[in-house]
Amino acid sequence: MKSVNTTIRGLALAATLAAGLGAGAKAEETIKVGILHSLSGTMAISETTLKDVMLMLIEQQNAKGGLLGKKLEAVVVDPASDWPLFAEKARELIEVNGVSAVFGCWTSVSRKSVLPVFEELNSLLFYPVQYEGEESQRNVFYTGAAPNQQAIPAVDYLMQEEGVERWVLAGTDYVYPRTTNKILEAYLKSHGVAAEDIMVNYTPFGHSDWQTIVADIKAFGSAGKKTAVVSTINGDANVPFYKELGNQGIEAQDIPVVAFSVGEEELAGLDTAPLVGHLAAWNYFMSAEAEANDAFIEAWHAYIGDETRVTNDPMEAHYIGFQMWVEAVEKAGTTDPDAVIDAIVGVTVPNLTGGYSAMMPNHHITKPVLVGEIQDDGQFETVWETSGLVVGDAWSDYLPDSKDLISDWRAPMSCGNFNTATGTCSSAAN
C-alpha cells in the first residue's frame, strides 16, 4: 500500500512539475487571457456561462490564426463568488500568470474589489454586465450597459407606448439597484411624475417570499392610473417573484414588469406562459434577427454541445469586448496595456444585432437599446428599439453629484471624472 501511495505521489509531483515547465516554456509563444468568473458559489449560475463563451471566443480566434502571430491561451481562475477573493485572483492572474487582459466580474461589488488591483498593476479588465454607472476607470472597459443604455430608454418606452403614470421601483438591496433607482427617480420626477406615484421597494438577496410585496404592488396599481413595475431584482430572486406575480393573477396587460436583470438564462428556470408580455430591456436578445447572431448561436451550440442552451446580453458584451481587444492589440502591434488603452478608443466592431459598436473615450461602448416582451417559449420578442446607437454615459446627467462630470481617457485630458463646472479633474481615480 505504501509503495502505491509513493508512486501516486511521485506521479502527481512529476505532473505538477511538467505542467509548470510546460507553462514556462509556452509563455514565450502565447498571449495569455485571464478569465475571472465565479465557477462556484451564488454567482456561478450566471458567470459559468461567460467563462464558457470566453473559451469559445479564444478557440475561434486561435482557429483564425491567433493574435500577432501567437496563439491565445486562456487562464481560468475561480473567485468562488467571494468578493475579496476576486481581488486576490485578479492579482494572481496578472502577477503570476502574466495575462495581457482579463475578462471578468459580474456583480458591481466584485468589480469594485478588483479596481485597485488593475490600477496598481496597470492591466486591462473587460466588464460585460449592465451596471449602475458613476464610474470610469482607465484600466477598465465597460462593455455592458450604463443606465442610459438600458433603464432610461425602457422607462421612456413605458411612458410613451404604454402610457404609464405610476411606478414601482423594486430591487434587490445592493449598489446597482439603489443607484439605478436613484437615477430613475430623478428622471421620472424631471418628467413630472409626482412623488406619491413612485413606490420604491428593496428586498434582500435571494428573497423568496414575495406574497406581501406582490400584494402591495397590486394595491398600488389599483389607484386608477396605469402602473408599471421597474425591476432591478437580481438573479435568483426573480423566479419566485415571477411565480408569485403569475399566481396572484397580475397580468402584463394590467401591470407590466420591466426587468433589467432578467435575460434568457434566467427565464430558462421558469414556465413563461403566465409571464407573456412582461418586459425586459437589454442591448441584445437571442431572438435578434441578424446573420452574425445566427452564426454566434450556432457556434455556441456546437461548442457547448447542447442545442437547448440560450445566449444572452452579457455574452454579447464579451463577444464585443473580445473583438475590440483583438482589434486594438492588432492596431497597437503589442499587448502592452498602455498602448492598447490608447489604441482601443474608437475601435469599432460588429455586434450581434446587425450593427456596430464603438469604444468611446469614456471606456463605455455604443449600443442599440432593445425592449422585448417575454414569449411563451422563454425568448424575448423585440417590441421596440432605439432608432440609433446610444453612447454609454459613465456619469448620469440626472444625479446632482455627477451631472457636471465627464470622462475622457484620451490625451491630453486622461481623466475619468473631469468636472466641467469647475474645470478640474478630481484626483480620486474612479
Partner: protein, 538 residues
C-alpha cells in the same frame, strides 16, 4: 398604350385613396388581414378594431391567433399564415379558412409582433365579439374585458346581452361591465351614481381603480359617491389587511417549518449541527426536477401527479444521502460538535458542486401542475393554490412525524436516545442505528421540503443555502430537539416577519426578526420549549 397606362395609374390612385380615406370598417377581412403586419402599434390596434367591426364570423379565431402570437408573415411573398408549433416542426395554416398549407421552416416566416397595447386592443375587440357566445367562460371573459376597457360603445351590446342572459354569475359580470362603461359615457348623473353603487359591491383591484378614477369626475354628485364608495372599500381592506398578514405569515411559517423540522430531529437527537441540511433540501428539489423530466419524455399524462410521485422518491434519495453522511462522517465525529459542523459544511459544498457538475449551474424548470397554479379569493384575501397546498403538506408532514415519534417503537427509541443516550444504551438500544435512522429521517423530511420548495423557489444548486440560516433560526428559537418547538417557532417567526414587512420593508423586517431572536435567546437560552432531562443538564 398611353391610355392604358393612364387608366392603370388612375386605378392605382383610386385604390390608394380608398385605402386611406374610407373607414377601415368597410374593408373586408382579407384586406384588413393584409394590413396587420404593417405600421406602428397604434395603427395596428386600429386595424384590430376594424377587424372586430366587420362582424365576420372568422374574426374571433383570427384575433385569438394574433393574440397568441401564432400569426406569421412569410418572408417570401408576404402571405400571412397561422403557425402551429409542435416540437421543432412548424405547420402553416390559412388563418381564415383553417386549411393546411404545409410544413415550413422556423426561419421562413417572421412573427407578427404583438405587444401589450395590441393585446389590450385584441382583448377589447374579442370582448365585443364574444358577449353573445354560447360558451359561458367566454361570456365571462368578454365581460371582464369590457370591465377593463369601460368602453361606452359597448352599453347597447351589453343591454342586449343582459336581456337574454339567465346565468346569475354572468349577469352580475355584465352588470358590472355595464356600470364601468356607463361611468365613461355621457349618461345622467343618477345613472352614474347607481353604477358606482353597483361596482362598489365588488372588491377587486380593477374595480378599485375605476372608482378611484371616478373620484375626479366633473360631476360633484358622482365624485362624492365615488369617494364614499372608496372610503368603504378602503376600510374593508384595512380590516382584511390583518387577515392577509396572518395568512402570509402562516404560509411563510409552513415553508420555514418544512425546511427546519428535519434539522430539529437530527440536531435534537444527536446534537449534530448538520450544515448540509440545505443541500438535502436541494436534492429533494432536483429529484422533483428529474421525475418531471422523465414524465415529460415518457408519460406526459402523468404530469399532474408528478409531485405525488416525486415526494416519496425525494424522501428516499435525501434520506439515503443522509444515512450515508451519518454512517460515513458524523459517526466518527460523535460528541465533537465543532468538527461535525466543519465536516458537514464541507459535505454541503461537495453536494452543491456535484449537482452543479451534473445538472449545470443554471436554474432548472420545475413545472407547477394545474392544481398548484393560480389563486382564489375569500373576501379581500387572495390565496394562491401553491401556498395553500404547501401549508397543508407541511401540516401533514408534521402530523406524520409526530405519529412516528410517539406511536412507533422506532420513535420510542429515538426519544429515549434524545433524553439520555447512555441510559438508553444500557437498556439495549443500539444507539448507533438509532442515530443513522434519525439522521435519515431528518434528511428525508428535508427532501420532502425540497419537493415543496421547487414549486415556489428556483431550483438551482444554491437553493439550500438560502434556507439553512432560517432553518437554524427556527430550531434555536423553538427549542432544540423539540418538534412542537420547531412548529411554534416557524409560525411565530413567519407571522412576526409578515406583520413587520409592510411597515419596515423586507430587509429591515429580517434584521428586526434576527434582533428579536438574539434578545429572546438571552432570556431563554433553550428556546421556546426547552427539553428537560439528565442529558440536557450535563
Amino acid at each position: 398604350m398611353l391610355l392604358r397606362f393612364l387608366l392603370a395609374a388612375a386605378t392605382i390612385a383610386v385604390f390608394i385613396a380608398a385605402g386611406s380615406l374610407l373607414p377601415a370598417r368597410a374593408a373586408s377581412l382579407e384586406t384588413l388581414l393584409a394590413e396587420l403586419p404593417e405600421g406602428g402599434y397604434d395603427e395596428r390596434a386600429a386595424v384590430v378594431t376594424a377587424i372586430a367591426g366587420t362582424g365576420d364570423d372568422r374574426a374571433v379565431a383570427l384575433l385569438e391567433a394574433l393574440a397568441e402570437g401564432d400569426l406569421r408573415q412569410m418572408k417570401d411573398g408576404g402571405q400571412i399564415v397561422r403557425v402551429v408549433r409542435e416540437g421543432r416542426t412548424h405547420t402553416a395554416f390559412d388563418p381564415l379558412t383553417g386549411a393546411e398549407i404545409g410544413e415550413i421552416s422556423s426561419r421562413a416566416a417572421s412573427k407578427i409582433r404583438v405587444n401589450n397595447k395590441l393585446r389590450r386592443a385584441i382583448a377589447a375587440a374579442l370582448g365585443q365579439l364574444t358577449l353573445a357566445s354560447p360558451d359561458r367562460a367566454r361570456r365571462l371573459a368578454a365581460a371582464a374585458s369590457v370591465l377593463k376597457t369601460g368602453d361606452p360603445e359597448q352599453i347597447e351590446a351589453l343591454d342586449a346581452a343582459l336581456e337574454t342572459e339567465t346565468d346569475p354569475e354572468v349577469r352580475t359580470a355584465f352588470m358590472d361591465a355595464r356600470a364601468a362603461a356607463v361611468l365613461n359615457a355621457a349618461r345622467p348623473t343618477a345613472e352614474k351614481v347607481a353604477a358606482i353603487a353597483q361596482l362598489a359591491g365588488r372588491n377587486d383591484p380593477q374595480v378599485l381603480s375605476i372608482i378611484t378614477a371616478a373620484t375626479t369626475s366633473d360631476e360633484p354628485a358622482v365624485a362624492a359617491a365615488a369617494a364614499d364608495a372608496l372610503d368603504r372599500i378602503e376600510q374593508a381592506r384595512a380590516a382584511w389587511g390583518a387577515v392577509q398578514n396572518v395568512w402570509y405569515g402562516l404560509s411563510l411559517g409552513s415553508v420555514l417549518m418544512l425546511a427546519a423540522i428535519g434539522l430539529a430531529i437530527s440536531f435534537g437527537v444527536m446534537g449534530v449541527i448538520n450544515m448540509a441540511h440545505g443541500e438535502l433540501v436541494m436534492l429533494g428539489a432536483y429529484t422533483t426536477f428529474a421525475v418531471q423530466e422523465l414524465i415529460r419524455s415518457f408519460a406526459p399524462g402523468l404530469f399532474e401527479v408528478s409531485l405525488l410521485i416525486a415526494a416519496p422518491l425525494a424522501f428516499l434519495v435525501a434520506g439515503a444521502v443522509g444515512v450515508g453522511i451519518e454512517r460515513g462522517v458524523c459517526r466518527y465525529l460523535h460528541g465533537r460538535p465543532l468538527e461535525t459542523l466543519l465536516a458537514t459544511w464541507g459535505i454541503s459544498l461537495i453536494l452543491q458542486q456535484t449537482v452543479r457538475s451534473i445538472f449545470g449551474p443554471t436554474n432548472q424548470q420545475v413545472g407547477n401542475p394545474d392544481w398548484m397554479s393560480g389563486a382564489f379569493e375569500i373576501g379581500q384575501l387572495t390565496i394562491t393554490w401553491n401556498r395553500l397546498w404547501i401549508l397543508l403538506f407541511a401540516l401533514a408532514v408534521f402530523a406524520l412525524l409526530l405519529l412516528i415519534l410517539k406511536r412507533t417503537p422506532a420513535g420510542l427509541q429515538m426519544r429515549a436516545v434524545t433524553q439520555n443516550r447512555r441510559m438508553a444504551e444500557a437498556m439495549g438500544i443500539r444507539s448507533g442505528w438509532v442515530d443513522a435512522l434519525t439522521f435519515g429521517l431528518g434528511a428525508g423530511i428535508a427532501g420532502l421540503a425540497g419537493v415543496a420548495l421547487s414549486q415556489i423557489d428556483n431550483v438551482s444548486p444554491n437553493l439550500g443555502q438560502s434556507y439553512i440560516v432560517d432553518s437554524f433560526m427556527v430550531v434555536v428559537f423553538g427549542g432544540v430537539g423539540n418538534l412542537w418547538g420547531a412548529f411554534a417557532g416557524a409560525f411565530t417567526l413567519g407571522i412576526v416577519n409578515k406583520f413587520l414587512e409592510p411597515y419596515a420593508g423586507a430587509v429591515l423586517a429580517k434584521v428586526l426578526v434576527l434582533v428579536f431572536i438574539i434578545l429572546f435567546i438571552q432570556r431563554r437560552p433553550r428556546g421556546l420549549f426547552a427539553l428537560k432531562g439528565r442529558a440536557v443538564e450535563s
